[in-house]
Amino acid sequence: MDEGKKRKEITGWLHLDPRSKLLILVLFSVVVMIDVVDGPAYIVRAIMTFVPVFLVCLEGKLHIGARFTVLFIAASVLQNYAQRHFGGALGMLVLFLCYMVTQFAPTMITVWYCISTTKINEFMAAMNRMHAPQGLSISIAVMMRFFPTLAEEYRSIRDAMKMRGIQFGGGKVTKMVAYRLIPLLFSSVNIGDELSAAAVTRGLGVPVKRTNICDIGFHACDFLIVSVMSILTIFYVWLSLQSGVKLL
């Protein structure tokens, strides 16, 4: 692996400040909160959706960006069509599936982008700058680190279930849940204990001001992306107010 590629493994070469990412998330959540189905506001919303997709593509994850784009456009078109021509239960199902994609997929991809490109200590530095309590930062940092661990553990458990043919819990929903959740909890508790022991022996929780060697700060691209997103958000809110959507 060459040097340039390696550097991409986590932060990506765009290297946005974690606070910019947070701001993008917040702006995005405002957009998601206001439900608009058509009109010019919808177009603004679609444009905003593709900003994170563009960012993901910039990090070299072209196939993810491409997949999302195809899925999103297909869902939007289908939704539009289904609204006019489908009725009954089938129509509902299609509408709901499309709604799920158009409504939540943009947030998912944004969250995924933000988490996967942020190092834990960058995040801690950003929280520190925003004067968040350290305990909260540690908890959230552990949570961020734990999502991939949960995924890893779940994959192993699912494999083990496949080998024994108990993925469907013998047809019982309670067993389906229990066979997944209980082994997952056992691993989590073990990993949690070992992680705590390792972190505490390396001085986590020492009552001195924690140093942070991460250089975080706003750069040109931060300003560019944040201002683009802010302007779009304001525009979006204004447009939806015009079309009579109540804010809340």
Binding site: K6, R7, E9, I10, H63, A66, R67, V70, K119, I120, N121, A141, V142, M144, R145, P148, T149, E152, E153, S156, I157, D159, A160, M161, K162, M163, R164, G165, I166, A178, Y179, I182, P183, F186, S187, N190, I191, E194, L195, S196, A197, A198, A199, V200, T201, R202, G203, L204, G205, V206, P207, V208, K209, R210, T211, N212, I213
Partner: protein
């Protein structure tokens, strides 16, 4: 200097792992090995020194532990951070960051050192421990050995005077263990005090100054380096310890750096076949698999033997006799585990098939034919009692038969216990019991002896032989040369997903 005086310890609510009347003094710069069977209290002893006992693990503690003049009991746990560094057994669970750089600087950042000092230390540690190639990586994509190296680096960055290692080699392959040994030598040369609790002894014989042997929570014997290195195999066997001196043939067989193998001619189109194919043999065909298939937007390209150059696993054919124990060796990342996963049908895109008794098994049928006992057996236990675990695997639950299976594996007395309450070896046997109950004909074992002591390793090997005698065909992937020598009818060396050698 570490001084442990008249220490007794008992974990709350646990029978195992307590300590009785421990007296031990470790001089500055000394390297001490703690050895003994699982549950003898070696790990507990290390926890006395790093303060996890009594501050983290609760229990009844009497006696005094003094490290560099500080009584551990009166210290806050965090104030020991710069003094005692600890490397733990499981590489997966001891990192806090998601990236390697952040992990190295984690400790110094915690204790609030100035930024310039931290960067200087990081540079120094990376150079000393040869971590350059691991920098700027995601920790989730490193192998166990690489993670363990980062853990060592992370501990070293705090510049502790004392370093504790708790079974650090459990999940490591041969070459990673040698890297670990080099690190230990470096630390020793820097004058650090090292306490290491370990089952695998061969890599430590030149490093340690003293070996302390424990049994049931007590210190029973001590040897100095010369005495320890000259212990004969029978003496070690009497203490149930693993060999100190490895035979040359192990090194040749497992080191993988032997130049003879580098030039081993790969036979891409035809597997090495040592004898003519017989009808009742088991034939593995077309095991090709890759983690990075050519992707179309939503679908992956179906593999065919022509894709061999891009495959992680490329085994055109392999035949084994029924009831044979086949050892699979090779370094980390050579594809051993992946091969086992393909063999029991967990990798959907693998096109391999198995011929047995004139029938062809592929895809989902493989999961019925083969059963894998995973390295982390905790993932395979789903129910709240050993008996129901076995019943779960049966097509038609039959309690009498289940009890017979349990009895044959010495598990009958534990049938009402929770599988998670058992020891590691017992859990492994529960997983085997459910494999037998599921009527699997081929059993796969992924690193069954990693982290096991001598006696348990022996037990596993006897068990495998017993299973083979009952007609099961067994594939066992292992780093453990002793296990392979003990029970395998033949071993297959895998390199880059190909069969490099059959012996």
């Amino acid at each position: 200097m570490i001084k442990i005086q008249n220490v007794n310890f008992h974990y709350n609510g646990l029978e195992r792992g307590g300590l009785k009347n421990i007296n031990l003094t470790i001089k500055d710069g000394e390297c001490v090995l703690l050895c003994g069977a699982s549950g003898c209290g070696k790990t507990t002893l290390t926890r006395l020194i790093n303060g996890l006992i009594p501050h983290f693990y609760k229990g009844e503690l009497t006696g005094r532990v003094v490290v560099n003049g500080k009584a551990i009991r009166e210290q806050e746990l965090y104030s020991l951070a710069g003094l005692v560094g600890s490397v733990f057994q499981n590489p997966r669970s001891q990192f806090f960051s998601v990236d390697t750089d952040g992990e190295i600087t984690f400790g110094p950042e915690n204790i609030g050192l100035p930024k310039r000092e931290i960067l200087a230390r990081k540079g120094r540690i990376v150079a000393e421990l040869n971590l350059q190639s691991l920098m700027n990586r995601s920790l989730f994509r490193l192998s166990g050995g690489e993670k363990q190296k980062i853990a060592c680096g992370s501990v070293a960055a705090l510049l502790p005077e004392i370093i504790l290692l708790d079974e650090p080699s459990s999940n490591l392959d041969w070459s990673a263990i040698r890297d670990l040994r080099d690190m230990l030598k470096l630390w020793k040369a820097q004058g650090k005090t090292i306490v290491i609790s370990e089952h695998r002894l061969w890599y430590l014989k030149e490093v340690i100054d003293r070996a302390v042997y424990m049994e049931k929570g007590e210190i029973v014997r001590e040897w100095d380096r010369e005495e320890f290195a000259s212990l004969s195999e029978s003496e070690l066997a009497a203490y149930e310890l693993r060999p100190v001196n490895l035979e040359e043939r192990y090194i040749r067989e497992y080191s993988g750096t032997e130049s003879a193998y580098e030039h081993f001619p790969y036979q891409v189109n035809e597997a090495p076949r040592d004898e003519p194919y017989k009808n009742n043999d088991i034939l593995l065909k077309n095991f090709y698999f890759t983690y990075h298939p050519q992707k179309y937007l939503f679908f992956k390209k179906k593999l065919s033997p022509k894709d061999a150059p891009i495959c992680t696993i490329r085994i055109p054919s392999l035949q084994v006799k029924p009831g044979e124990i086949v050892g699979i060796t090779g370094g980390n990342g050579s594809g051993k585990s992946t091969f086992l996963r393909c063999l029991c049908g967990l990798e959907k895109t693998c096109i391999g098939s198995v011929w047995m008794d004139g029938q062809r098994y592929a895809g989902k049928k493989l999961t019925k034919l083969c059963y894998m006992v995973m390295q982390d057996v905790n993932h395979q236990l789903f129910t709240d009692s050993v008996l129901s675990e076995v019943l779960l695997s049966m097509e038609k639950p039959d309690e009498t038969q289940a009890k017979e299976i349990l009895a044959s594996l010495d598990l009958l007395e534990y049938r009402e216990k929770h599988p998670m309450a058992l020891s590691g070896g017992q859990k492994q046997r529960v997983a085997i019991a459910s494999a037998i109950a599921a009527n699997a004909k081929i059993l796969l074992f992924d690193e069954p002896t990693s982290g096991l002591d001598y006696r348990h390793m022996k037990e596993v090997s006897l068990l495998l032989k017993e299973l083979a005698k009952r007609g099961k065909t067994i594939f066992v992937s292992t780093h453990d040369p002793e296990l392979a020598a003990e029970c395998c009818d033949r071993t297959i060396r895998i390199k880059d997903g190909r069969i490099a050698q059959i012996s």
